[in-house]
Structures are given as C-alpha cells and as structure tokens.
Amino acid sequence: MIGLEIVDPVAATGLFGYAWLMIALPALGALLILGFGRFLGKAGPALAVATITGSFALAVALFVQQLAAPADARAVSVPLYTWFSTGAWQLDVGLLVDQLSILFCLLITGVGGLIHVYSLGYMAHDERKGRFFGYLNLFVAAMLVLVLADNYLVLFVGWEGVGLASYLLIGFWQHKPSAAAAAKKAFVMNRVGDLGMVLAISAMLAQFGSSAFSEVNHGAANLVGPWPTAIGLLLLLGACGKSAQVPLQAWLLDAMEGPTPVSALIHAATMVTAGVYLVVRSHAIFELSTVAATTVVLVGTVTLLAGAWIGCAKDDIKKVLAGSTMSQIGYMMLAAGIGPAGYAFAIFHLLTHGAFKANMFLGAGSVMHGMDDDVEMRHYGGLWKYLPVTFWTFACGYLAIIGFPLTSGYFSKDHIIEAAFGQSMLIGSLALLGAGVTAFYMTRLMLMTFGGAKRWADGVHPHESPAVMTVPLVVLAVLSIGAGAVMNWWIQEWLEPATGAHAHEVDLLPTPIGWATMAVVALGVLVGWLVFGRREVPATAPQGNLVARAGRNELYGNSVNDVLVVQPVLAMSRAAVTTDAKGIDGFVGTFTDAIGGLSVAGRRAQNGYVRSYALTMVLGVLAVGAVLILGLVG
C-alpha cells in the first residue's frame, strides 16, 4: 500500500488567490450580524444568505477552473501569511484548494446556502432570528477554514470553530433546559475528541517539525516505531468525537434539540462528516499503520450497526434520522478505513449523504412546521395528503438512503459494501446487514409519518410549508436522486491525486454483491411494510422486547458513559474538593493567619513617631555592624 504518489499543489494564480474570500464572506457576515445586529435589523438574515451565496459562487467558479485545468495543476496552494515562527518552527496560515477540498466547499456552501434559505421560512417567527443567522454564518466560515486549511493547526482552528458554532446552535433555544444540557454535552464530549487532535498535532510537530499536509505526507514514510499507529489512533479519536462514532456517539442524538435546519446542516450534512474528511486527508498516516486503519474499519462497522439499531427503535422523527446519520457516517468511516480502495467511495457517500440527509432533515422540519413542532411519529400518520411537496421530496431522500437502483445512495453505498467484502467477508456481511436494517427503519419512518391513518390530536392542522422552505426541498430531492449517477464515473478519477488511490472500474450493471444488496434492501422494506404498513400504529409505544428497548435507550450509551466516566470523575472531584478544603486550605489558612498576625504586629512598629524611626535606623546601623563583624569572624 505504501508508495502512493503524492501530488504537490501548484502556486495560486488568478481567481485562486481570492480563495480566502470564501471564508471571509461568511465570517464578515457573522461579525456584522453578531456585532451590529441591532443596526441591521431585518437585513441580517438577508445578509447571511447573500454572503453564503457569494461563497458558493466563488466555489463554483474555482471548481470550473479546476475542471478546465490539467490534472496535475488542479491542487492549488494559497499561502496567506506566517502565523508565528519560533526557533525552527514556522507556522504558516495557508489554504489548499484541491480536488478534495473543493468538493467540500461546494457541499458546505451549496447545501448550506439552501439551508440558509429554508431557515428564512423555518425561523421566520423566532425573535432571535438575526442571531441564528449570525451563528449559521459563523459555522459556515469555520467549516470552510476546516476543509480549506493546508495544515493541521489551521484545520484545528476550524475544527474548534465548528464545535463552538455547533454548541451555540444546539443550545439556541437555551430557555429549554434540555437544549442547554444537550449543548453542554456535545461540547464536553467533543473535548475528548479534541484532546486526541491536539496530541496528534503535537506529535506531528515533534516528528515532522511542521503540521502542513504536504510535509506530513512526504515525511510519513520516515516515521518509525509506534508513531504512525499512535498518530493514527489519536486522529481517529478526534474523528470519533466530531463524527459521533462509537464510543463518542452519545451527543449526537441529544443534539437534535437544536433547530431543525441546524440538524440538517451541522449534524447531518457537514460538520459530523469532518471526521471522515480528517481520515481521508491523513491517508498517508493510516496507510502506514494496519492497526490504526483496522481500528477505523471497526469503529465504522460498529457505529453503522449501532446507529441503525437506534434508528429502528426511536419514535422521535429527528432521532431516527440522527441514528441514521451515525449509521451512514459509519459507512463512510468503514470505507475510509479500508484504504485506497475506499477513500473515493467514502467521499462519494459523504457527498450524496449530505444531499439526501439534508433533504430528509429539512423534510422532517417541514413536517414539524405543519404539526406544531411535534416530533413524535406516533402522532403523525397519513400526512402525504396534507404535505404533498414534503412527502414527495422526502420520498426521494428515502429512495436514495435505502439505495433504490440508480438513486444516489445506490451508487455510493454499493461501492462501500463491495469494498468491505474486498476487505473481509465478516465486515462485508455486517455492512450488508446494515443496508437491510436501514431499509427497514426508513420504511418504518415513512409509513409512520406519511402512511396509514391520521393519529394527530384534534386542533392540529397539518399544512404545507411556504415556498421558501419547499424550494430547497425540491432542489435537494433532485440531488438525492441524480447526484450519484452524475458522479459515479467521475469522482474516483477526480479524487485520485488528493487521495493517492487509483480508480477502479465501475459499471452500471450490478455485481453479484450488488444484486445481493438489492435483495437485502428489498427484504428490509418488505419487513418494514409487514410490521408497520398493514396494521394500525399504536399511539403510545408498546413496551417492546429487549432489543427494541435497548435501541430506544440508545444502546445505554449514556449509562455506559455515566458509569465509566461521569461517576468516577465526580468521585475524584469530590475527593479533590475535600482534600482542598480540609488539607490544603487548613494548612494555608494557618499560614495566612500567621502572616496576617505578623503584618498587624508590624503596623504597630510603624507608629508615626520620627524618634522611633530614627531609633530603628540606629538599631539598623548596629545590625549592619554586627553582620559585618560576624562575617569577618566567620
């Protein structure tokens, strides 16, 4: 696997020199809205939409230029300035616009732009609307820093920036204690991952003397001993935190407390996929360590099954989608862990998933919009008549995620399953199983929400959302269906220089594994229909068996965290407080009392009488004499 070619980026010319504007525009938007929102008033949201549209236009322009350029001149480095230099280290801030990052830019600004537009309708009645758009712009700017950085340190700035924006947006309705708690949880769990990032970057600085991608890629081959494995595992820890992979998955389901456009943008399409980006970007490291790469595969496989399991049991529409997000990112991780054969597919699935999952989240938001913000699927039913646009667009997303032939998910997921079989029979079978379970729970979601008879209470009047929300849905639905076919024959070759992997032949006709996948998916849909389509859905959840209850409780992830981490830490901090109060403060208290007493005594010597001052001086002279004589004698 070693010895992949490393393509060095060429220097920026022309429009590429302005790549920083992609970041600067939304950053400026965030600054203006958050800093001077009072003066902007209603222009704030419009400004936010305008900045991201500008970024998108620039991304498209750069993409077109790259398409036109010869293959070896597509990766462009845009040095900006020297951040700081100390000793032998010089840390530069620069951007890298290559085949990989431009796809992310298109996803972030494209899907992000649609979600901005959608939010105009969704958040129309929120009194803190301006602030919401400010945070969204902040997120987009930080996410672009993350993907455009040309070294890990700047990437980390973006990494923390999206974490901050995610925290602010999950807790946006901070008057709800659950939202505030969810935000805190997401932030704290991400710190664990960030620790891995910090250590990985420190190790890189120590090993390579630089954190630039190019230096790391070139130098990786010279790593010795446990370093590739160590750096790889630390990076994976960071990726697990950001991408909600087992064991750092627990925050994502709670993060659904945020407004739905946030769930769509940050917790489905973009931020949570940063971990996949990180692994693919660091392929030079992972290729050197079988241990690290295999761990990535394991993490991905476990997460894809765990997420699917949770998705089967939840009745909250957003949490089903969140479980599904975990699961799909698990697929991407799995692909990224497989190695050169999987990088392009990981990114491929990431892009199609970004479209169809954003589509479904926004669809769920549209349903909630019509149902007075109720998220309980047991209160839905028969909505297809009342929300036709939402239904049809959601259906496109549904077909894409289960991998209906020729939709986008069909292409991207099948490749991953095939690659997984290439890795090992076991992993392949598990990935295949996951596809079947996905089909099952998505069918369940569709049937409980749009099918069957109405179950909502009197006084609820489901209605279709305004055009400002449905138009983005339609655009995303088209992408859900068509994006896969467009990219299938192109993306491997396109990404080849960035990932160092060689393209595989892909065919329109399914392979035997492809046929098997289709069969499993059909089975999943059938089971889903048998269970939820033929009989009435009870309005309250049945107790269910052990498997269902485990899924409903998110596989007891929170309990595990509580027992393994929270309780021990609490016990330790209580012990520390006790030691501090009894032991250290007791000692210090005695000491300070003594010093205070000395100080009061000293004040008495300063009595204000010049005669006693003079006497002190005379005594001082005697003391000087005594010390000198003692020194002479001694």
Binding site: S599, Q606, G625
Partner: protein
C-alpha cells in the same frame, strides 16, 4: 583643566532650566506663569533627552568634569530612564482639571495650615509653580548621583536631589498638615542618614586616601592598613545609600512620606529617587568595593530578606492605597536588590548580568509605578483623592477602563506573565541565581507570592465590590491620561516584546572604572 561641555550638557540643561524656572517665578506675570513653567520643564527635559541620545550615539564617554563624573553605559541608560520617567511623572504635576482648575499643590506653601493667610490664598485660588523648578533641581541631582566618580560629588548630588524633594513633599493643597508632617519626617530622617553617609565617606577617605571610587578600588586591592576602617566606612556608606533605596531597616520614612506627599510627587519619588539610588548603590559596590564582594554580599542578602518580608507582609494589612504602594515599593526595592546581591557578571551564553537586570527591573517597575500613582490622582470624592482602598470598591463597574488599566499595573507589580513585571522579576531572579544566591531567589519568589495577595486584593475590591457612593473618577486632562497611557502601553508591550529594552539594558551594564 577641561570641562566636557557637550558630554554633560543633559545635566547642565536640566539644572539651567531649573534656575531659569526660579527666575520665571519672579518675573513672569502670574497669568502666564503656569504655562511658562510647564513649557520650560517639558522642553528642557526633551532637549536634554535628544542631547543624551546624540551623545550616546557619538560614543562620548569616560571621566568628565575633571573626573568627578563617569560617563559610561550605565550612566547613559540611567540618565535616559530618569529623563523619561521624570518627564512623564512631572507631566502629572501639570494636571489642573481634576482639582477644579487649580494644581494639586498648595496655594501658598509658606502659610501655616489652618491660618487665615492660608484660607485667603485658597479662596483667591492662588497657584504657585515653584514645584516645577524644584522637580528639575531634584532631577538634576538624581542624574549626577549615580554618575558620580567620587564620593564628594555623590554626596553633593545626594543633597541636591534630596532637599527639593523634602520641600515638594510638604506642598499638598489638601491635607496640608499630613503633608507637612511627611516633609518634616523625611527631612529629619534624610539628614540623619546623610550624616551616616558622610561619616562613611570620611572613613573611606581615611582608608584609601582619596574620594575617587577607582582609587578606593585600588586601595581595597592593595591594602596599606587594617580593614576595620574599610568595613566601618563601607557599612556607614551603605546605610546612607540604602536609606534612599528604601531598604529595611532604613525604610521607615517611606509609608509616611508616600502617603503625605502630594500624589504626583509620590509618583515622581517612587521611581526617580529609586532609580538614582539603586544606580549609585550599584556604582559604589561594583566599582569601589567590588574587591570586598565577599563581605558585603552576605550583609546585603540579610537586609534584602528583611526588606522583602517587611514590604510584602506589612503591606498586607494596609487600608490606604498610597500606603500599600509604599510597602510595595519597599518589597520591590528588595526584589531589585536580589540582583545586586548576586553580583553576576554575565557569561557569553547568558549575558544578562546583575546591573542589566536591575536596570531593566527599574524600568518596568517605574512604568507601573508612575501609571498607578497617576490613576490614584483621578479617583476622588468630595474632599479630594479617595485613598482608602474601601472607597475603590466597584470601580471596575463604574469606570472599567481606568480600573482595567490599574489592574494591569497591579498584575505587573505581581509579576504575572505577559506583563512587564514578569520579565523584570525573571531577570533579577535569574541574575541572583547565577550569582550563586539560589536560596535568596527561593525566598524572594515565596515573598512575591505573599505580596501578590495585596495586589490581587485591590483587583478583587475594584471588580467584585459594590460601588461606593460619592466616589467618582475625575475628568482629567491629557497631562494625566498621557502618562497613564504611556505606562499602560509600556507595561503591556514590555511584557510581550521585552527584547529591545532588555538588550539595551544588557548592553549598558558595564561600569567604567
């Protein structure tokens, strides 16, 4: 017999301006007098600074004025520092807006406090501006003091710098009794210490047969008589010098004088006097008595420990902000003197020696000190300055900018990293450590921890207390704001980029003999 006019022009200019100031007091009409004095003072200091820089760049140096002064790199550095700090602290003298249109100095200093004459002078809103020439005389004396090449010149300089200070201390417009009491105490104790100084000079003359520092150094190397006279002379001379530095047990005047003197004068004394006195101490011990290092190092070490203990511990329970800063100045005298005790001469790998680190410390201490006293003039109540720490409560809420700047000065005094104070402490402690006084550094670090309490307490009071009724931040003119701004910027910049000044101090650390 030659006099190097150009080389000593900075000192001469300051002293001539002082004399002109006295004349101006007599001939310039009262209405223009204030402006004339401020102009004369500022202009003379600025021109002296320009002359100083050109002389330094021209490389003038060596013994000057018939060998009575030594123009070497430390002299240049200290003159420069004295001119800068003199300028910014004397600017505060010129503040009149804070006090309702009159200066902070007595309407008629010669009147008896509480007398009719005083009341009439106050009612007439009289202003006397003799404080400006007096400050220039003091500044001139301070410049000569550390540059002296013989002990007689040093003594004359000591008196020239001290006598105007005594007078200036007694010139407060408000709380005149306290001010006059402070002046009298300072005068009496100063005279007392001058006597010791002079006695020490006499004994050293007896020992070496000369007043010249270099001749004394030669005599110490090649003794012609027993060392008893030398030690007695050295001890008594040390008393006179350390009195001015404010080292325990010769520190008693400091709290009373700092509190009683008009606050702008306190700011001037706090740094300029200390600079001159530490400079003279360095010259006496490093030039004349360097051969007796082994006998004066333990002596100074003992006194330094006592100084730091008294400054840090006594300061803890003070309730008056000027008194607190007086104890702070005692503690800082101790910290500076740790470098002096170390007598570290520098090495190629770590060139920052005792002299360089002490000079740098004086600069950073001076910045925070001038700024802090200027801030103190601005916090007022109906009867003038509100000096009780309790009345500073809640200042962080009512005027966050001023309180933030004051907090910056306090943090620098404490030695928190990213302020200049940290670099200064690191420099002097490193010099003492390399000079072989590791134990002294450990004691000093522990005591700076104790001293941190009273600086941080002020910050806590300002930012976490409830505002006190009747305490306001006065509207000051640029005469107060400019020094505060210079000090705050200096403290912040030297905390992050100490390099240039540190290099300059390191380069300016070799005394000529």
């Amino acid at each position: 017999m030659t006099v190097e006019w150009r080389a000593i022009a900075p000192v001469l200019l300051v002293l001539i301006a002082a004399i002109l100031g006295i004349l101006a007091e007599a001939v310039v009409p009262r209405a223009q007098r204030f402006f004339a004095q401020v102009f004369l003072t500022v202009a003379s200091i600025v021109v002296a600074g320009v002359l100083l820089v050109t002389n330094w760049r021209a490389g003038l140096g060596g013994p000057v004025a018939m060998g009575s002064m030594m123009l070497d790199a430390p002299t240049y550095f200290m003159w420069g520092a004295l001119l800068v700090f003199g300028l910014i602290s004397i600017l505060v003298f010129a503040e009149r807006e804070l006090n309702g249109g009159v200066s902070a100095f007595a309407a008629s200093a010669a009147t008896v406090p509480g007398s009719r004459a005083e009341a009439e002078a106050s009612a007439a809103r009289l202003e006397h501006t003799e404080v400006f020439p007096l400050a220039l005389f003091a500044l001139g004396g301070m410049m000569v003091f550390p540059a002296s090449a013989d002990l007689i010149t040093m003594f004359v300089a000591l008196e020239v710098l001290s006598l105007p200070l005594y007078l200036m201390c007694g010139m407060a417009r408000r709380r005149r009794l306290l001010s006059q009491e402070a002046a009298l105490k300072y005068f009496l104790l100063g005279a007392f210490s001058s006597a010791f100084f002079l006695f020490g000079v006499a004994l050293l003359y007896g020992y070496a047969g000369s007043f010249d520092l270099s001749a004394i150094a030669t005599a110490v190397q090649n003794p012609t008589m027993g060392s008893g006279v030398l030690y007695a002379g050295m001890g008594l001379l040390a008393v006179g010098l350390l009195f001015k530095v404010g080292v325990v047990p010769f520190h008693n005047w400091t709290p009373d004088v700092y509190m009683g003197a008009p606050t702008p004068v306190t700011g001037f004394m706090a740094i300029c006097t200390k600079l001159a006195a530490v400079g003279a101490t360095l010259r006496v011990f490093y030039v004349a008595l360097s051969g007796e290092r082994w006998s004066w190092q333990p002596l100074l070490a003992v006194l330094v420990v006592a100084t730091m203990v008294v400054g840090a511990v006594w300061g803890l329970t003070q309730t008056d902000i000027k008194r607190t800063l007086a104890y702070s100045s005692i503690a800082h005298a101790g910290f500076i003197m740790t470098a002096v005790v170390g007598a570290y001469a520098g090495s190629p790998t770590s060139p920052l020696d005792s002299v360089g680190s002490a000079l740098f410390y004086l600069v950073v201490y001076g910045l925070a000190s001038v700024g802090a006293f200027a801030v103190i003039t601005m916090v007022r109540n109906a009867s003038g300055e509100a000096n009780a720490i309790a009345s500073w409560s809640g200042l962080g809420r009512t005027s966050p900018l001023l309180a933030g700047i004051f907090a910056l000065f306090m943090l620098s005094f404490t030695g928190i990293p990213l302020t200049a104070g940290f670099i200064g402490k690191w420099a002097v402690f490193a010099a003492a450590w390399r000079g072989g006084f590791e134990w002294l550094v450990i004691v000093a670090v522990l005591l700076s921890l104790v001293a941190a309490v009273f600086y941080l307490r002020i910050i806590v009071v300002m930012f976490f207390g409830e505002p006190v009724d009747g305490v306001v931040v006065g509207r000051a003119s640029a005469f107060t704001w400019l020094p505060i701004a210079v000090a705050a910027i200096g403290v912040a910049v030297l905390g992050v980029f100490p390099g240039p000044v540190l290099d300059l101090a390191t380069a300016a650390s070799t005394f000529l003999r």
